[in-house]
Symmetry: C2
Subunit: 365 residues, 2 copies
């Protein structure tokens, strides 16, 4: 059985990262270099590298005190809603990364579950083939808007002018954008924003979540970070308070590992791995398209959003792929009602597995 | 300036832990042995070691599915209250580890702050020299009771018969005990319980939090765990759900590090470090007592709870120690109103620093 289902990576860590981790471990072996509790918001060496390389190199000014290092973007995207009142109304794309919705469900913010699988107090923004996976601005008043670009699960992206609409909308309505750019490293076209802060005025309305999981294969290492601009001073202060009260910093070794991806060698190595995954994505896109299957995403993201070829439901297609091709996919309906009729495939498999998966699909569909 | 203030360790990690971490890093360097996302509740190898060594070796049966590995006890003790209604009433010892109170403040569960530094909707259980630091059962109805033994900040312990009172009270009133045993490795007298589950029926009412931070110097490595017994099936299910929704597992390297402390070499090395810290504690206890200063705790815990010698306030004493002795302590009043008139010293300093601190106190008080 080949898995192109869960979004976990398969390639080993970059040699520069491995070296940095060994060094960090050795530091903890001697009293002279031992490190105990670090700052809850992350070590200075990592905050500085983030500011310099993820932002300044792209022409964006971020202050070190706006960077909050954590054990991963899942924790941060799930926890950030804690800063808001229970009455706040949440807007999410449909389909959507389930953590945005589920963390609000746990917080009691989402009302009741309707028969169509939607929560009564959540605003869903359908992203479908019909609207080119471009969500429309909500017609109702919302307080928190989760956006994830490059998108999980559809693998699609938004150009600057579309993101500008959201920033302008958020500023004019007082809403907060919670922008998850965990997959920015997969963008191949430099006109597509890596950061929401490439959009004018975004510092007045947007929080940005970043992850090393997909950028550098840190799914087991655990490190990510969140940017809370000082223009949103209350949120910056509250998040600092939340993190220092309920979190004790990311592992020192994980933080040293993260900082190694900003070295010259680290950047090169990390890019090579991403290039490998994107070869898989290109192969999947091309070959499935040649079979007449409609495939979206996968150009600037490690995810392909595949329309079920014979109009099956997501689960029917999942089962056919499993039984006929011994291939695990992710049913699109698990990401929300608008995901019905799609499956998600990932480019994180090994090349030979990906090729074999394509052969099996060719034979059986 | 010598710091005997913050509860951070100073000794390096055990060689067995260092070796395990290097091995884990090497596993991540090759595609064949690479590990990505682990189970949110922790890897089986660690859950198994916990069940076997922290519990079965002490005659306690815990199921692996009752063990939830995390990035540390601070996260877990702060997050666990999320499972309860906002109306629940919380009881804490006074003085207390601030995270228990502050996480409930953030959740909006504590009412208003009174002038005496207490929250209106929190039940405080004074632990003072007068009652031998033994909290009395609350007279009012409470839902969540935080207990930490060996205690932070007072360094005192409770014998089995006192803990039995709390278990019986919790069962008879339907309250939940949130039992933090982060310092159990410092217990020297085997009649003192390491786990709340040494008390009959505790599985029906108690959650237990454990940390590797003080047991094995993991303050920078980040790993701990929480036990949620199946007798509390709803809480077990809700915590599993909470963790799988809002957390993505502790670092693989940290989990391998934790499992190394259960090897024969690891246990021996970890015990040696704890013995070193406890020598500091004994020295501080003995020498300060010889000066006529009242010292509590420090016999089964790395903390000493020191009465301000001339009846000063906590902050006055803190400032005198800082200016006269260049010694950083922690003012007891920071842990709650009943901490006034005390300072906390820790045994985590290096031996020569601890000796020098004692000399300075001898000269200046």
């Amino acid at each position: 059985v080949i898995s192109l289902g869960i979004g976990d990576v398969t390639q080993p860590l970059a040699p520069a990262v491995i070296e940095a981790m060994h060094q960090a471990v050795d530091e903890l072996a001697s009293a002279e270099t031992f490190r105990g509790y670090g700052p809850e918001h992350g070590h200075d060496f990592l905050r500085r590298a983030i500011v310099e390389h993820d932002y300044r190199d792209r022409g964006i000014e971020i202050d070190e005190e706006e960077v909050f290092v954590s054990d991963g973007a899942k924790s941060d995207t799930a926890n950030f809603q804690e800063l808001f009142a229970k009455e706040c109304r949440v807007a999410v794309c449909d389909p959507v990364y389930p953590v945005y919705v589920d963390s609000n469900v746990i917080a009691g913010r989402t009302g009741t579950l309707n028969e169509d699988g939607r929560w009564s107090h959540v605003t869903y923004l359908p992203c479908t083939a019909e609207n080119n996976f471009t969500p429309e601005l909500p017609k109702e008043s919302v307080d928190l808007i989760y956006l994830c670009y490059p998108n999980n699960p559809t693998g699609t992206v938004l150009p600057k002018e579309e993101l500008k609409k959201w920033v302008d909308f958020a500023i004019s309505t007082g809403a907060i954008l919670l922008y998850d750019s965990a997959y920015e490293a997969y963008i191949r076209d430099e006109s597509i924003p890596h950061s929401i802060y490439e959009i004018p005025n975004a510092r007045r309305c947007a929080i940005e979540f970043r992850s090393y999981s997909k950028t550098a294969g840190f799914t087991g290492v655990r490190c990510g970070y969140t940017i809370v601009p000082k223009e949103l001073s209350q949120l910056n202060h509250l998040w600092e308070r939340r993190q220092s009260t309920k979190f004790n910093g990311a592992s020192y070794i994980s933080q040293r590992a993260a900082s190694a991806i900003y070295t010259e060698a680290g950047r090169k190595q990390v890019k090579e791995t991403i290039d490998r995954y994107m070869e898989n994505a290109l192969l999947l896109r091309t070959e499935l398209s040649n079979l007449g299957i409609r495939v979206y995403g996968g150009e600037h993201a490690p995810y392909l959003w595949v329309q079920c070829p014979t109009g099956q439901s997501s689960w029917e297609c999942f089962e056919q792929l499993l039984h006929r091709c011994a291939l695990v996919s992710t049913p699109g309906s698990g990401f929300g009602p608008s995901g019905e009729g799609f499956i998600r495939l990932t480019a994180f498999g090994r090349l030979d597995d990906t090729k074999e998966a394509i052969e099996r699909i060719k034979k059986n569909f």
